[in-house]
Symmetry: D2
Subunit: 268 residues, 4 copies
């Protein structure tokens, strides 16, 4: 049920739910880089364990791989027993959603159980994961919950009702939780990714290079990584904004932010 | 399973799902008044049958009461077998939602199955009902689907995540269906009711008086029904706008409209 | 300065500002048809007078043509001296905007004075016209103000900043006035027309035919006017919704509504 | 007309328009701290010069104070002649707006010229400033334009039509420019500040302390600056997010972000 790449810790935990090779992995790496013990959760434990090993090695961090099926309440509870046993979960990032075909589906061809599954993963899973970590956050008066949305969070799209309904509902959850829990110190934010996330770009950077790159926008602009490029979003760049949301001062918290590429398939 | 207050008909059917004593009943009455055969659906068949009898008698219309449990796919299919056996369903109005307490709930106290039930009624039920009627509408190139939302459709509210998630998702469904089906002649609209719907106001009007009242706004203003009144919304007045949406010309269709009272508990 | 097609009246006045051959004319005709004395206002008094004569004759109504330049405060004040001399202005419809090219302009090519002119007509003109009629409406505790928006009211469009800034600001004005004046009985609504308005469709209908057509949506659907047609919006159909907004009961007022064609150039 | 606290520079310039003692000053300080030559612009040159001296001294940076009246096109052109003479303007932050009373005004009491002035400062001034700097940004294929909005950017408020109309229009401008210029490398973002900005909090930090504080959210949380405090937003904290927007990678740009305090007068 659980694969631990490293031993437990007394520091706050960052739990990243829904970790594939792009966005989830980059967010996990960023929080590991910044000194967090990280738990990464997804269905494919084999792949997840490889990510955990890789991040642990590169960032000299503690990274735990824990299997979760976000459409299954029991699986969520069991997974978070594992996460919570590691210590205080200070950060929850929820990326999970039921993959849908890239082409629109005829509404009449959709099956009710498939529609229900999509809501289960996008919305009920987020609800349930938030319930696991909020008591600890409320007790300590701090914590960050970040929900990943997309263009389908804001606008219905013909042929994508499964995705849109789940993502609209997730946005509602984010707003409800923000209004209930921000006054007691828990930051809840919703990130709308309006584009297609690719693999991390550019030359494999050392941790040090990666750390330094932040302060030098001009230089990165001059280097011109992808100015007229693929149109894909760099997950390492997205992870910088997830991190920024986490470190925002509590007098200036963001509830919703959008992110999109300079070029490429803009959806909103 | 089914209580028919009148015999079948060759005309188009208006199916109203989620019929209580206020909004659903007034919409049913309006469509009956305008000559439609009406099917009203809800869980409480006893009360529903009394509404059907009352509307049938007052409007000299055919009104069918059919039991439905919108959280149950089988119940929806069986109910719509009944509705579709009456003829072409030209109008679907979906009002159903899982009642929530009027006071906010602590998020930690919510049960996952209660959250799922709310999504099932607000969203999955709407999805499933739409699937029952759309093939007939597409075949004929006409039809109207009206979804009832509320202030919780647009804005998360602390302590109301069950309601908000279901209603956000319903709005997504409405937008997706509009974009897929309006080009083939099916009008899909989302009505945001930003207030509390009360019982019909004023003196019991005859059908004739009710019909005439529409053309005389000044007079109704002069009569001053509720200018500084209860703050409740008159369901008969709401039903006028549902009807207007149905009769809109296809070069000028509304996708979303809000409705709120002059005074009273404004939520948005 | 003023051309009166008919003598004064003791009834409420409907003032339509921004009247060209399509939308404004159809709205004016609808209110005339429903028994209102109508004042139509635009810059081109010659054309306006022909519209006034035509509507007066066809609808057997009183229609006044009054010249206005909505970018000029003095012109607005003078025009409304004329309108207010006719009686209580019960309805104000504000359609005026500064025409922009149909193709996007390079931002760098826009002139500041042109940008200012667009704001003057879209926003300041609306502000000023509303100020002329609100005191009378507040005094009587009734009245309707309808502002015409478009897709540029909701979403910035590359190359159309003049239009978008003016229309966003007009939407703000609509919301501010609704919140201030609805509690005292003045209905303020914003209509978002998401499409291109063409000339009135179909065979020239007599007033009687036009009046009857409302109650027969099926028949109009069967007649199939423009099902896969031009994509243009019928201004007579739009005018029906303007009228519906005016006659809405005060417990169920719309603040914002969108309108778009079944087919054609959908902008939102 | 112009007061230079320091000599010219070959690096990119950050121009901050609308600099008072809170937000504008903190943004200027942040960009100075990060190594930018900064031009600060406002109407009160005396106060502005004191800010320039203070920031120049504390951050060992070049800071130029330049008088501007954002309601006056000539003043804007002259001010930017000064700014552009300093070098390439890489960053433009536009904060200016016409101050309004904190209490709602009766719509009938507003003067047209006051309404026009508000649009002139909030919207036309932003339009004009953007026109000054965009050619240089387009030529180099990089640059950042940040517009400051507030809760009045999203929602009309009774008694605040001057503010709301100007701020809605500014948001439109932001969206139009983003869609036109992001594809050529210019990042345009709109920041919605939903709260009241106070003076910088806490002990006067040295530059070094300020620089270090970013990486230690837990510590700042533990220090508990203002957890149940004044409800005011810390402008230094806001400036961190302005800076983050500037350094976002071009595959993951934000167009709109909101910021609000944990507690205090939440307006949206």
């Amino acid at each position: 049920m659980r694969s631990m790449a490293s031993s437990s810790s007394s520091k706050g935990i960052a739990a990243i739910v829904g970790v594939g090779p792009n966005l989830g992995r980059s967010i996990a790496r960023k929080f590991a880089h910044e000194g967090y013990v990280v738990a990464i959760l997804a269905r494919d434990l084999g792949r997840l364990s490889r990510f955990a090993d890789e991040i642990a090695r590169e960032e000299k961090a503690q990274v735990f791989a824990i299997r979760i099926d976000c459409s299954d309440s029991r699986s969520i509870r069991e997974a978070f027993e594992g996460v919570l046993s590691l210590g205080f979960v200070e950060v929850l990032v929820y990326n999970a959603y039921q993959p849908v075909p890239w082409h629109p589906s005829n509404f009449s061809d959709l099956r009710v159980d498939s529609f229900e599954k999509s809501l289960a993963v996008s919305t009920v899973g987020a609800f349930h994961c938030a319930q696991q970590v909020l008591p600890g956050m409320v007790e300590r008066g701090r914590g960050t919950i970040l929900f990943t949305g997309c263009s389908a969070s804001l606008k219905g799209i013909a042929g994508f009702s499964e995705l849109c309904c789940g993502k609209f509902a997730l946005r509602a959850l984010s707003q409800c939780l923000a209004r209930e829990f921000q006054p007691v110190g828990v930051h809840v934010a919703h990130i709308i990714i309006d584009g297609v996330v690719g693999p991390p770009r550019g030359p494999p950077a050392t941790s040090l290079q990666r750390a330094l790159s932040i302060g030098e926008p001009q230089q990165r602009n001059i280097l011109g990584r992808d100015p007229a490029g693929s149109g894909l979003m760099d997950p390492d760049a997205l992870a910088q904004t997830y991190w920024h949301l986490h470190v925002q001062d509590r007098t200036a918290w963001t509830q919703e932010i959008d992110l999109r590429p300079l070029s490429g398939p803009r959806l909103l």
